[in-house]
């Protein structure tokens, strides 16, 4: 864990207590069984605690605590698989902070900070993230195109859409049609068809606005994945210390000890990479590279740990009644988000000139 300031420690402890007491994995199970995208009361509680405004400037109703602070909260939510539009909405807000006009900021940021408005990114157009390419186009302030597998789409009032010539804001309503897509993680995903939907450009962000938003999406998603890694690791370790076979607890078997030592090593190096990504966002230094690193490490570590988590739990890990399977299913969805490792390694090599 990075060395934190008082404010960050407070925020992390608050998030840790809240998820533990108010929103453990059982809460997600209820949401899933009810077929809801998330628990509306829980989202209100998060908003009341100020989490939706952590990266929004104070003048627009946020606290401007920064990305490390938001990452700490997101990690805690990742541990308990808390379903919420927090990440999606924060990313939408960051797009407006980076590229919005004064009017756009005044119009949207206060409502995003209070949680009253939910925003989300609509960038990718196919089942795999292949970079910042979009065929969606805008003519006379109207956007047309189809966006695939948009996260937290069903309750979103505002879409931040990547078009062929820049990034646009589109409000839910005229010209916007959602078709939900149920993925294995049972979270809120949809294909969105924009047909001459009124769109306003985020014109103040410069040519690399979309890249900056993507960097933030990668790091924040990696923070959620880090929380999931930690939770699966901790749960598995607890289980190995309890389960008895051959008259011994499993944790006394060296074959399992060494696998756990390997996972611990992966987990800790992933933590360093994710915290490095959050620190880069706050400092503004070498952000794109740090973001690629954070997401790639999180992808690979969570892939391994979620898989090993099932195996080390044995048969009980295969049951729906047990939580560890939730993490496996959510893991693969997040691995695909904003760049799978194969895409990111290719990108990294290109960035480095080889």
């Amino acid at each position: 864990m990075a060395v934190l300031n008082d404010e960050q420690e407070m925020l992390r402890d608050m998030a840790r207590e809240w998820t533990k007491n108010e929103h453990p994995v059982g809460a997600w199970r209820k949401v899933r069984d009810a077929g809801e995208p998330f628990d509306a009361d829980a989202w209100s509680a998060m908003a009341e605690m100020g989490w939706a405004g952590i990266i929004i400037p104070e003048e627009h109703g946020g606290s401007d605590f920064g990305w490390m602070s938001l990452g700490l909260v997101v990690e805690e939510l990742g541990k308990s698989l808390a379903a919420s539009p927090l990440i999606a909405s924060a990313l939408a807000a960051s797009a407006i902070v980076l590229g919005g006009s004064d009017e756009q900021k005044a119009e949207y940021l206060p409502r995003l900070a209070s949680g009253e408005l939910i925003g989300t990114l609509a960038f990718d157009e196919g089942p795999r993230h292949i970079g910042l390419k979009a065929s969606a186009g805008v003519h006379d302030g109207r956007l047309t195109g189809t966006k695939a597998f948009v996260h937290e789409a069903s309750r979103a009032g505002l879409f931040v859409v990547l078009a062929s010539d820049g990034v646009y804001l589109v409000e839910q309503g005229q010209g916007v049609t959602l078709s939900s897509r149920a993925l294995a993680d049972m979270r809120d995903h949809a294909e969105i068809d924009f047909n001459d939907a009124p769109a306003q450009k985020l014109a103040a962000g410069g040519d690399d606005l979309a890249q900056k938003i993507l960097d933030r999406a990668r790091v924040l998603t990696a923070a959620e994945m880090l929380g999931m890694c930690q939770a699966v690791f901790d749960t598995t370790l607890d289980y190995l210390k309890q389960r008895v076979q051959f008259n011994q607890v499993l944790s006394s078997f060296q074959a399992l000890q060494h696998r756990m030592a390997d996972l611990y090593s992966e987990l800790e190096m992933t933590r360093s990479a994710v915290e490095g990504g959050l620190q880069a966002l706050d400092s503004g230094f070498a952000v794109t590279e740090a973001a690629m690193l954070a997401k790639t490490r999180a992808n690979d570590a969570l892939h391994l740990i979620s898989k090993e988590g099932i195996q080390l739990h044995g048969g009980i890990g295969m049951t729906d009644e047990y939580n560890v399977g939730f993490y496996l299913k959510r893991a693969r969805v997040l691995e695909a988000a904003w760049g799978a490792s194969s895409h990111l390694r290719d990108l990294y090599a290109t960035t480095k000139g080889y």
């Binding site: 370790l237 060296q254 000890q257 060494h258 800790e268 490095g276 790639t296 990294y348 480095k352």
Partner: protein, 403 residues
């Protein structure tokens, strides 16, 4: 000493930097700029040039080779901030610390903690001056990972111990003046029968045979003790306290092996750049070997995550005032990455990455071959990766002792 306020004020530190700069201008031979070979201390003790000798003597006299050790034993007596300033000023002019080896890395800190006042005064100043070369007598043919199984006997003969037995993997044994040794003073208890003894390598009955390794070098020796008389005052701590002292010393070893410092220096040439030279780029500007390209990117990213982890371990340790838990993974992770890098270098360079000697190769290529082979030892010595895994599982993760 605690009552004396540390001279941390900026003005004092600036004055100290002035002193360092003046000292370096006067004493550091410019021809030695950047000539420090990071592997030299483990691999080979070459002939010392007059300039190198002068530089060692000057630093030894100041005690700045062991900057934070107490002045009364020949150390520099510097605060941590001063030591950092010294390091920075030296780096600026390409100067390096000529005082090193096992005396500095391992034995010195152990003596400061466990030795008697007389022993400290006798043994620490020569370490600070770089006058005495120490080697480590731990491993034996039947005591590797199971170190406590060691059988070298030290029999009590009244005023001295009579030592008989064999040590192996004695790094630098053929050049060492003295050896810090784990010996058995009793067969009654596996761990409590072990004592920590300082042995003169020039004493009658000590015989050293270098072991030729797969790298073609002989950095390690077999050391034989036959009726070697060791004065009783060379026992550090109490009889039977050797295991405790010896384990503590290994912590210093691990810290030094794992910090990533040496590896970071070796990594100064980005693999992608090396590959570009040997393999070339295709029409899209990508390395002409697609599989290697991905492997290199994967390695470089994992390497960066490791460096971030080493830095985090340092920051956490500083903030907590104790060794951070994640330090436990650094040796295991760093040595694995170092080996992976060496294998990738060979894959990139083809035959030129396997040059043994003679014409047709750059020196860097020849060094790479030896470093690749030598590097296989890193996951075996200093507590093998399997031993590191046991330590992580038991101490950090709280898993039970295995059978």
């Amino acid at each position: 000493m605690a009552s004396v306020a540390e001279p941390e004020a900026k003005a004092d530190l600036d004055a100290f930097r002035e002193e360092v700069r003046a000292f370096l201008a006067e004493n550091f031979p410019p021809e030695l700029r950047g000539k420090n070979n990071i592997l030299s201390s483990v691999e080979e003790a070459g002939e010392e040039s007059p300039a190198e000798k002068a530089w060692r003597l000057a630093m030894g006299e100041k005690g700045w080779g062991t900057p934070t050790w107490p002045k009364e034993y020949g150390g520099g007596g510097l605060t941590k901030k001063q030591a950092r300033a010294l390091e920075e000023e030296m780096a600026k002019v390409g100067a390096w610390n000529p005082i090193g080896g096992m005396g500095v890395m391992m034995l010195g800190p152990t003596l400061l903690e466990f030795a008697s006042e007389e022993q400290k005064h006798e043994h620490i100043p020569p370490i600070c001056k770089g006058e005495i070369r120490w080697c480590q007598g731990y491993s034996e043919p039947n005591a590797g990972s199971d170190l406590a199984n060691l059988q070298t006997m030290a029999e009590d003969k009244g005023d001295h111990y009579l030592v008989n037995g064999q040590k192996t993997w004695t790094s630098g044994g053929q050049w060492a003046d003295k050896c810090f040794c784990l010996v058995r003073t009793s067969r009654a208890d596996k761990h409590k029968g072990i004592s920590f003894l300082l042995i003169d390598m020039h004493a009658p009955g000590v015989e050293v045979k270098p072991i030729k390794m797969i790298s073609g070098m002989s950095p390690f020796c077999e050391t034989f003790f036959t009726d070697v008389q060791v004065p009783k005052e060379n026992l550090v701590g109490e009889e039977g306290q050797g295991w405790t002292i010896g384990k503590k010393l290994l912590q210093h070893e691990r810290t030094n092996l794992s910090g990533g410092g040496a590896l970071a220096a070796l990594n100064s040439q980005p693999l992608g750049k090396v590959a570009e030279r040997y393999i070339g780029l295709d029409e899209n500007g990508k390395l002409a070997d697609a599989e290697l390209r991905v492997k290199i990117a994967d390695f470089e990213m994992r390497w960066n995550a490791f460096l971030l982890t080493a830095r985090r371990a340092m920051e956490e340790s500083k903030a907590q005032g104790g060794v951070s838990e994640i330090s436990s993974i650094l040796k295991k992770a760093g040595t694995k990455l170092g080996q992976e890098r060496a294998e990738l270098m060979i894959a990139i360079q083809g035959y030129r990455g396997l040059g043994w000697e003679g014409e047709g190769f750059e020196q860097k290529e020849l060094d790479g071959t030896r470093a690749w082979l030598f590097g296989k030892a890193t996951t075996i010595y200093g507590g093998s990766t399997e031993i590191q895994n046991n330590i992580i599982a038991k101490r950090i993760l709280g898993m039970l002792d295995h059978q």
